[in-house]
């Protein structure tokens, strides 16, 4: 299972492409011709295919097995989506082509926008944010723009403890002071504490719903009303939209802005860490401040509204967030996915996702502590803690033990409100047989942790690597490969 680095096996004379010979011309490079080698190794095509095929086999993906990473929504990625995104009519068009030549692409953006607005019961959507956190930023910027437009310089954003970690980072990035709101013992926002804190300095409340404890924020409507009454806005982190799509519309709960992770609810592949896509739906109040560009449908066809074409009725827009129009490749995949499910299928999605999570919660609460098990049904994810494990055993041991059982571990140590948290999100694309296998495996690992089985501390044993030393990596960061001779020389 060792695979050498390309720098160790490639050579500067080898190439895996054939380039037609360049015609002879007089160089016009302004005297800046490159004078030193770049030191980029090349591999022939057979060696390249083998290198990456072998590397891929050191990875775990949803295609290989259950991947219950809570809050990350690892669901099946249909290959139809990949196929559609690769149609030359979508994959081989330039973002700056004349609009008359990209009417189909603009239609995709518009159709997807319509679905998202309808599914969320909101007023409009900004399609360009590149990921969930980028969408949060988009929402906060719109809120700040709206407040500025009414001359109301507020300075504080309230974030509950159970919010996603990106929320406070985003608020701070937008120049707001961030204040925490505590959670109730049952794992929801403390309504009273929130109401008490509201005031003329509060720009917005950022709420994750369903929250990171896997619970629906029952009081969201009440919260929204209170925030609005206090002159603020409600931002909803939509990362967990998968739990409610087709059954609940955030617009009905008073939300002003919410990002939608297309790579979660709408199944665009995560790809080992991206690309994501985070469109943001807006209430009527925030819509005028949405970023450029966006697509409008007119009698003459679809129009891309950007700097050149925005005109006066979009004067409130807070500007541009990305160079072009957002993650077109993800829009194509998401629209394909949404059409494949339809209104009936999307409702079934949230029902099955919630059913699967509750099945796991109830099947394991006898061996794992479930801190909010008494708070009612969970939504799409089941939360456990490390309470009850033998001395010296931690959530990390459970995770590594699951690897040896052939599963990807759940999300660990998140949310922070629960000690040694384990957040299991099965999604709707797992069948009962897969869940049952996982339950048996996790039960076994949990029992070993509770009983103090020392062997568990050494897990994983059957992975491409044993436990990796993350401290060493951070203390002496080695971020690029260096020739061993160069390393040796440097050491002398």
């Amino acid at each position: 299972l060792e695979e050498a680095l390309i720098f160790e096996i490639g050579s500067h004379e080898t190439t895996g492409v054939d380039i037609a010979p360049a015609p002879q011309v007089k160089s016009r490079l302004g005297g800046l011709e490159r004078r030193k080698p770049i030191a980029l190794p090349g591999l022939s095509e057979p060696e390249t295919v083998r290198h990456y095929t072998r590397l891929s086999r050191q990875n775990y993906g949803i295609d290989l097995g259950f991947f219950p990473l809570g809050s990350c929504t690892m669901k099946h990625n249909p290959r139809l989506n990949e196929k559609m995104a690769r149609l030359p009519g979508f994959a081989d068009i330039h973002p700056l082509q004349p609009q008359s030549t990209v009417q189909g692409a603009l239609a995709v953006i518009h159709e997807l926008a319509e679905w998202l607005v309808t599914l969320t019961g909101m007023h409009s959507v900004a399609m360009s944010p590149k990921a969930g956190a980028h969408g949060e930023l988009c929402g906060l910027l719109a809120i700040r723009a709206a407040l500025e437009a009414r001359g109301d310089a507020r300075s504080v954003v309230l974030v509950p403890e159970s919010a996603h970690g990106t929320n406070p980072a985003t608020a701070a990035f937008c120049g707001y002071a961030v204040e925490d709101i505590p959670a109730t013992p049952e794992g929801r926002v403390d309504l009273a504490a929130l109401k008490a804190r509201l005031g003329p300095d509060v720009a917005a409340v950022m709420i994750t719903n369903p929250n990171t404890c896997g619970l629906f924020e029952r009081d969201l409507r009440t919260i929204s009303e209170a925030v609005h009454a206090a002159g603020g806005f409600v931002y909803c982190d939509g990362a967990n939209f998968n739990a409610i799509v087709g059954r609940v519309r955030p617009g009905d709960l008073g939300v002003d802005a919410m990002h939608i992770n297309l790579h979660k609810t709408f199944s665009t592949p995560h790809g080992g860490g991206g690309p994501g896509s985070g469109p943001v739906v807006f209430s009527e109040a925030l819509s005028p401040y949405a970023p450029l560009p966006f697509v409008e449908k007119t009698a003459d066809g679809h129009v891309l509204i950007e700097e050149e074409t925005a005109g006066e009725h979009h004067a409130g827009s807070f500007g541009r967030m990305v160079a072009f129009h957002g993650q077109m490749g993800m829009f194509t995949r998401a629209l394909t996915y949404i059409m494949s499910h339809g209104a009936d299928g999307l409702r079934q999605v949230s029902e099955d996702a919630v059913l699967n999570a509750n099945y796991i919660l109830r099947s394991l609460e006898d061996v794992l502590d479930a801190p909010f098990a008494a708070s009612g049904p969970c939504m799409h994810e089941a939360l456990f803690s490390d309470k009850g494990m033998a001395e010296g055993f931690t959530t990390l041991d459970i995770a590594k033990g699951l690897i040896d059982e052939g599963f990807h571990p759940m999300t660990v140590y998140f949310p922070l409100v629960v000690h040694g948290a384990m957040l299991v999100e099965p999604t709707e694309t797992e069948g009962k047989a897969a869940l049952d296998q996982f339950i048996v495996a996790l039960r076994s690992v949990a029992q070993r942790a509770n009983a103090g089985d020392a062997a568990l501390k050494g897990a994983p044993y059957f992975a491409p690597r044993r436990r990796l030393d993350e401290t060493l990596a951070a203390r002496k960061p080695v971020l690029v490969w260096t020739e061993p001779e160069a390393v040796a020389e440097a050491a002398e």
Binding site: T14, G16, P23, L29, G30, G31, P41, E45, Y52, T53, L55, Q58, N59, Y60, G61, L64, L80, M84, P88, D92, H94, A105, K130, A133, G165, T166, A169, F173, R247, V248, R249, D252, P269, H270, G271, P275, G319, R320, A323, F324, G326, M328, G329, S340, G345, V354, L355, R362, P377, K432, A463, P464, R465, R466, R467, L468, D469, A473, A474, L479
Partner: protein, 452 residues
């Protein structure tokens, strides 16, 4: 429903185990008034693969495909040939359907690729280190400005007039909220980039100078003097590369003293895709690594002493530091970085050099042919694979007229700089290895007709 494995038999059995009567009981925490009793109105029901393919295919056919016509668009996104093996490999389920490598023991594939990617990017840019990618070039550019602010503790950034105007827009959007001061004007009609102007503008408040290389009009200038002046003033030089293929032919910014080099990696491995997903490249000098935004992959060893890779320095990141993070970025462009890295591995030094040479040669051929068209003047004294021609009429109209003749002839400066009337006659023309002599002839012919 083809993606949903549960059968009704399964559902009943599971409700039994949970101890509730129906699915509705699991949604009891949703306020009744917010519960939809039935599926959402006004939306179609699920569709077969065949039906979805038909619909998407119909929309796809409404677009003019770059590969089907003479094509000369660039301005931040370039059409290059991507080997078939790249797309095959990124579709391996183990790459495509993996998450961020939070469990490194079963994510060494992704992690080793990121380590190789970081090294490739750092070498290409002439820098010491690189991160594991960002959203795209424009957001990487803004992140670099923010990083310069953190390092220099100054808030004034000088943006070259040759910086892509959309990158400027993104920076302006963000600066409005962070309070950074951005100094920028639209480009002048000049054969050379604005390096001397920037040198003259640097002062003691300057956090950084941001210069694109080659610039939005295709011009190339030596950055050494600019770097020296910036450093003398305690400022950083940030170079932006929107066409990394150029660095197969010209000196990388890092070698000329740039402190941070960012770029758009779309040219290598990713494709046009109507603007996204793209790939932000980010590299810098070793001494600034702990101020670098975004994910980083680092080398370490496992419990048996074997080499392995992990995400590292995450203490800079938002899920640890929350409001004190270096940026709010959570996702990178992992799969695009993989595509970039595979393509770069296939190319290698030799392939990249050959590719760059071919791009430049074809561009020179095109420039020479276009200069011979009456009414066309070449702006640039130097260029790599993109240059600006000046016409006597509004280039927006010309571009549209060419499109009506099934020629995608270039990006008009009027579209990029709608408020700069003096630029309206400019057309940015990009030429790559995918451009044929027939394409060049078609563009010249089309221009003759349109300008006549």
């Amino acid at each position: 429903m083809r993606y949903l494995p549960l059968t009704d038999t399964d559902r009943s059995a599971m409700l039994n185990v949970i101890g509730v009567q129906s699915i509705d009981d699991l949604f009891m925490d949703v306020p009744v008034e917010a519960q939809l009793a039935t599926k959402i109105d006004g939306l179609p029901d699920h569709a077969s693969e065949l039906a979805v393919e038909r619909h998407m295919g119909k929309l796809a056919r409404k677009n003019m495909v770059a590969g089907d016509v003479p094509f000369f668009l660039g301005a931040g996104a370039y059409r290059h040939h991507v080997p078939a093996s790249v797309d095959h490999l990124i579709q391996r389920g183990e790459f495509l359907t993996a998450y961020t490598p939070y469990q490194p023991e079963i994510a060494q594939g992704t992690l080793q690729v990121l380590f190789e990617f970081q090294t490739q990017v750092a070498r290409l840019f002439g820098c010491d280190v690189a991160n594991a990618s960002m959203y795209d070039g424009s957001t990487a550019c803004w992140e670099a400005i923010g990083m310069a602010r953190r390092i220099t503790r100054r808030g004034k950034a000088l943006l070259s007039s040759g910086l892509h105007p959309h990158y400027v827009s993104v920076a302006r959007t963000m600066a409005r909220f962070t309070g950074d001061q951005l100094v920028y004007t639209t480009p002048r009609v000049d054969a050379e980039p604005d390096i001397q102007t920037l040198i003259d503008a640097i002062d003691g408040d300057t956090s950084c100078v941001v210069v694109q290389y080659p610039d939005i009009l295709g011009r190339i200038g030596d950055l050494s003097a600019l770097a020296a002046k910036a450093h003398a003033a305690g400022a950083l030089l940030i170079a932006v590369v929107t066409e990394p293929v150029a660095l197969g032919a010209i000196t990388p910014p890092g070698d000329m003293g740039a402190d941070i080099v960012v770029g758009e990696g779309q040219s290598i491995g990713v494709g046009l895709q109507f603007g996204g997903p793209y790939l932000g490249l980010f590299a810098c000098k070793q001494k600034y690594v702990r101020q670098m935004p975004g994910r980083l992959c680092g080398e370490t060893v496992d419990a048996e002493g074997k080499r392995g890779f992990v995400l590292t320095l995450s203490t800079r990141e938002q899920h640890i530091r929350r409001e004190k993070a270096t940026s709010n970025i959570c996702t990178n462009s992992g799969l695009c970085a993989l595509a970039f890295s595979i393509h770069m591995t296939l190319l290698g030094e030799r392939g990249l050099t050959d590719l760059a040479a071919l791009n430049h040669a074809r561009a020179v051929q095109a420039a020479e042919a276009l200069e011979a068209v009456p009414g066309v003047r070449l702006l640039n004294s130097s260029f790599f694979n993109e240059f600006t021609i000046l016409l006597d009429q509004d280039a927006r109209e010309v571009a549209r007229a060419l499109a009506d003749r099934d020629i995608l002839g270039g990006v008009s400066l009027g579209r990029l700089f709608p408020d700069a009337a003096e630029l309206s006659g400019g057309l940015v023309v990009a030429v790559t290895e995918t451009t044929t002599e027939d394409d060049i002839a078609a563009l010249c012919g089309g221009l003759k007709e349109v300008l006549a």
